[in-house]
Amino acid sequence: MINIDAKSHVRGESVYLDDIPLLEGTLFACVYDSQVAHGKLKSVDISEAKQCAGVVKIILAKDLKGENQIGGILPDEPLLADEEVHFCGMPIAIVVAETDEQARHAVKKIKAEIETLEIITDERIAFEKGSLIAPPKKFVMGDTEKAFKDCEHIFEGQTYSNGQEHLYIETQGAYTIPSEQGGIKVYSSTQGPTAVQKAISKVTGLPWHQIEVDVTRLGGGFGGKEDQANAWACICAVATQLTKKPVKYSLHRMEDMRMTGKRHPYSADYKIGLDKDLKIIAYEAVFYQNAGASCDLSLPVLERTLFHCTNSYFIPNVMATAYSCKTHLPPNTAFRGFGGPQGMFVIESAIAHAAEKLGVDKAEIQQKNLLQNDDEFPYGQKVVSEAEQSWHQADHKFDFNRLKSEAEEFNSSSKYFKKGVSLMPICFGISFTNTRMNQARSLVHVYLDGSVAVSTGAVEMGQGVNTKILQVAADIFSLSQERVKVHTTNTLRIANTSPTAASAGADLNGHATRIACEKILERIKKVASEVLEVNSEEISLRDGMVFIGNSPTEMTWVKLLEKCYEKRISLSEHGHYAPPGINFDWSTAKGHPFAYHVFGTAIIGVTVDCLRGTYEIDYVKACHDFGKTMNTAVDLGQIEGGIVQGIGWMTMEEVFYDGQGRLRSNALSTYKIPDVYSVPKEIDILPLETSRENLAIMNSKAVGEPPLMYGIGAYFAIREAVKAFNQNNFLQFDAPFTAEKVLMNLYKNQSN
């Protein structure tokens, strides 16, 4: 089934934040933000801005009616800078004016006097200075110290992976409208309507029931609108509260890029020990996460780095420590993979290091250490593994050896072009690692004309979650797609939602919808059995008709609903779902945090132009664990998009802050994401054959985040190609592998 929004998308009729028709009297907000990364805010001069045409109000921290605080996890993030500024791009003042242009113009007239304090942009320096968001987190399994003594080979090194700008094509924004009795209706481009509601409540002092948040869809999120949509919604809400007028703010791209956080950069130290058979016996890693100026989601991101620090491998002795380091960058945040990719990059680097020094193929070490059923993760959960299966099925279909020897042959006869090939297995846990967030609700109404309305806590952002939810409802009631509509995500209809994140949106909200539909169905069937005078178990619904056993009856779906109404049976249900069996205890750092894991193995091939230092991705071929996909088109789209985003992170996407904490890659002209020519020439996805049951909705495993990590393979494939040209060079593990790094490495230590 094709994405239900596809048709209105191609006709340009889908509505995004900036497309919502404006009410008369709508005002426009624009933020004045800090140009200094760290300093004392001595004064803000708004006198000239106030005189500008159209300006209605200028709001400073002192004007807020509630608390000046939007931190979701730790209360360490003011909405507006008060005494200090903590990053370039930190909001200081809000200008509210009659037009967008006037608001933007007046912002330029504001002047702030800021006394610069010491600026830290580097996570290791922050660590040395003891600037941490929270105490470190640690995972321990076995005894690494002892195990290293028995290792035949030990390698140590450092890695770095840079951040990544989300670059959802729709920028952040919000539109707030005063409602009766002092309430506020909020349109927000957010993945977390409840997070927006909570943050607005804090800064306005209004209780949650006065705040209605409504989300139709996002023009992309990728984690960037999980927590970081809050600020803009709060800015509009505060302005609405103080002016009693509708207020809109749709950020310009440069504002969005400089004021919002990104994927966390990580620096790491690793130590890996292997026995003579290349089994990894011990692994130690220390992660230094660059959190930016406040916590935001850094701590759960940090935790997921630990959860995925051994990727698809079983290692009996592990000690992993992670520090969330506070710097003067915009608060970094969720991004597809949520710290997992950063953890995996380190273990893959450690394995590459070992392979290179031992003169063996990296794939040999990878394969020898794949997770087996019932192996234990460092966090105590026993694995239900598809790691080896996906590896073997991929090998069987794509023939790793053939692909590698083709590359070698090519390299031996080519002077300036070199090919590199690498393998990338993945293992990604599905569930919020914060167990209590794993719950969702769905409100289902069956109307007397036979149509069905569904509302859930899931936010549609292109990932097709509404399409899957519609499938669930249509399937249970056996109705055609046209008779079901999935409505906007709205805090009045669904309360206390978790953000749509952690790849879990379809699972949680799909199951909640299933439960609601099944309950209604049960009641309807009971009515049918009474009317038709048969057992309820014999009743089924097929394509809008009531069946007894395998024979159709005269009774249509609509007639049956009438009967239900007559009998005063409720045709509505609020379903609640909480996946069973998951738990985690941070006091021991052990538990069973994930409902299940997603596995897969990819092989990536690249060609490097060694004259110019540029490269192309030839192919990504992967065997991927879908469980049993409920929507091939949607899932394939998630895989292809995820792979390309992962490759972007590992290759061309370079977030660039200068030493003063100013973002230099602050526009699409200086921050490059993959275009149609930089994607793999071929992406070939083989679904893993497996008959295992899992906790996913309709057995269809979550697919949002895991494929991104195949992209890590591109880094190592480029590395292979560079090594084929320049053997006398041990390359640093320093992502992304930009054209610059490729060329510098091709010619490092070379006389040529």
């Binding site: 094709i2 340009g12 869809r217 292109g462 292809e640 149609v676």
Partner: protein, 449 residues
């Protein structure tokens, strides 16, 4: 007053001429199908089609509406997605292909792709999958990874579309020619003598000083017919200042003189930007990494101003964004000699396409019997101005083509450049890259290096 046709509607507006077409369609006409992703020409979400009367046909080209002043819409047919949507909630062939192949996820980029592909299908030039893909080289999508869109490209490319079929665009399109003819006759051609501001495609001006441009009293020269010709004599090629990069790509003269024209010019911006980016705009912007500037420096081109003054392009640049030009002068003509036997252009950036160069370089050579009679080499991104490499060019004269010559010339090149570190690379990298790309000229042209 500006008059044009927007979709099926005649427009007359007194808004400032510098207002962007994007703001006009979205906020004045409430056509919200055209999206905003960057306002800098870099994402393609705002792509529209612009139909121009050429002879007795209407020729459509895509443009990014975020950088396009209303003045450049004068007398044109401006088409947004609302102007191609079939009635009764049906889909055009392009839209259907995008739906069938799941070429849309969040949908925010989608309309831009639809417009680019529709324009591609309307165009009469020969088609294959690669040309369909090149039509979307200015459209960025963060969701799909493009594979599904490639599949949609394959699908539309396999169809044969006549405007009349109604499958591509609605039937009102067949009246547009007549309607534009009427408009054209009404159009005034008087230059604004007072104003010293010239706007070509606006692809630099609207990125650099958007707000100022909206209200600026300016001369809009993109569609000034006198400035759009490409002609040749036995020795010379002469171009008007407002020739855009796409005009070069479509010029028989250029295709004959430059066998690798397409490969080289494809490295410059994207289809919609190439449809707007004038040569004069590139020269006057004076960016050290201007690609067309590097290209024409290596052709040792001259520029001619409205005053009649003629100046070699290589003498035009005095310092960072400093030019030998008085306020009253604007470029009218560009000329270069045809005497070269070899030409090459190289450019490396973070992303191969639709990106600004870390370093670019061009070379033209006249070679007889492996001996260089004369050479002109340029290099961008390595100096405060676009750089003509005088010493390197001189050195090459009279030399044999050999690895030794290249190595020796490269030493001289290194002495002529002075790159700085910035977001496009460290100085050290740019030095190495300049060396490599200089070498690449000879690898490409002679297989030597």
């Amino acid at each position: 007053m500006i008059k044009f046709i927007l979709n099926n509607q005649s427009i007359e507006t007194n808004l400032p001429k510098g207002t962007t077409v994007l703001d006009f369609v979205r906020y004045h006409k409430n056509l919200k199908g055209t999206k905003i992703g960057c306002r800098e020409g870099d994402c393609g979400a705002c792509t529209i089609m612009v139909g121009e009367l050429t002879g007795d046909a209407v020729k459509y080209r895509t443009m990014t509406s975020c950088l396009m002043p209303l003045a450049n819409a004068e007398g044109k047919h401006i088409v947004t997605v609302e102007g191609i949507n079939p009635e009764n909630n049906e889909l055009t062939a392009v839209q259907q292909a995008m739906v069938d192949e799941s070429g849309t996820q969040c949908g925010f980029c989608t309309v831009g792709f639809v417009m680019s592909l529709t324009n591609f299908c309307l165009d009469e030039s020969p088609k294959d999958k690669n040309s369909a893909i090149s039509a979307i080289d200015g459209n960025i999508c963060r969701c799909t990874g493009y594979k599904s869109i490639e599949r949609a490209c394959e699908k539309v490319n396999s169809g044969k579309w006549e405007v009349e079929s109604g499958k591509l665009v609605p039937n009102y399109f067949s009246d547009i020619r007549k309607r534009l003819t009427v408009l054209q006759n009404e159009q005034s051609k008087i230059k604004n003598q007072k104003s010293k501001i010239f706007v070509g495609g606006g692809t630099d001006l609207y990125v650099q000083k958007h707000e100022e441009m909206v209200y600026a009293e300016a001369n809009h020269v993109l569609f000034d017919d006198e400035l759009r010709t490409i002609t040749e004599t036995d020795e010379l090629v002469e171009l008007g200042a407002s020739v855009v990069v796409t005009d070069l790509l479509e010029s028989p003269i250029f295709n004959r003189l430059f066998p690798n024209l397409y490969r080289h010019l494809k490295l410059i911006s994207s289809t919609p930007i190439r449809n707007m980016a004038t040569l004069a705009g590139n020269f006057i912007n004076a960016s050290p990494i201007g690609d067309m500037t590097a290209y024409f420096l290596a052709l040792d081109a001259n520029i001619e101003f409205n005053t009649g003054r003629i100046l070699p392009l290589k003498d035009f640049y005095l310092g960072y964004k400093q030019m030998d030009r008085s306020e009253d002068e604007y470029i009218q003509k560009i000329r270069f000699q045809k005497g070269f036997t070899h030409f090459n252009f190289e450019k490396v950036c973070k992303r191969t396409y639709l990106d600004i160069a870390s370093v670019n370089t061009a070379i033209s050579l006249k070679v007889t019997d492996n001996e260089i009679e004369h050479a002109h080499v340029s290099c961008g991104g390595v100096f405060a101005t676009p750089l003509y490499l005088r010493k390197t060019s001189e050195f090459l004269q009279g030399k044999e083509i050999s690895e030794e010559t290249i190595a020796a010339a490269n030493e001289i090149l290194q002495s002529e450049i002075a790159p700085i570190s910035d977001v496009r690379g460290t100085a050290e990298y740019k030095r190495l890259l300049a060396k490599q790309l200089f070498k690449a000229h000879f690898v490409e042209l002679f297989g030597v290096g």
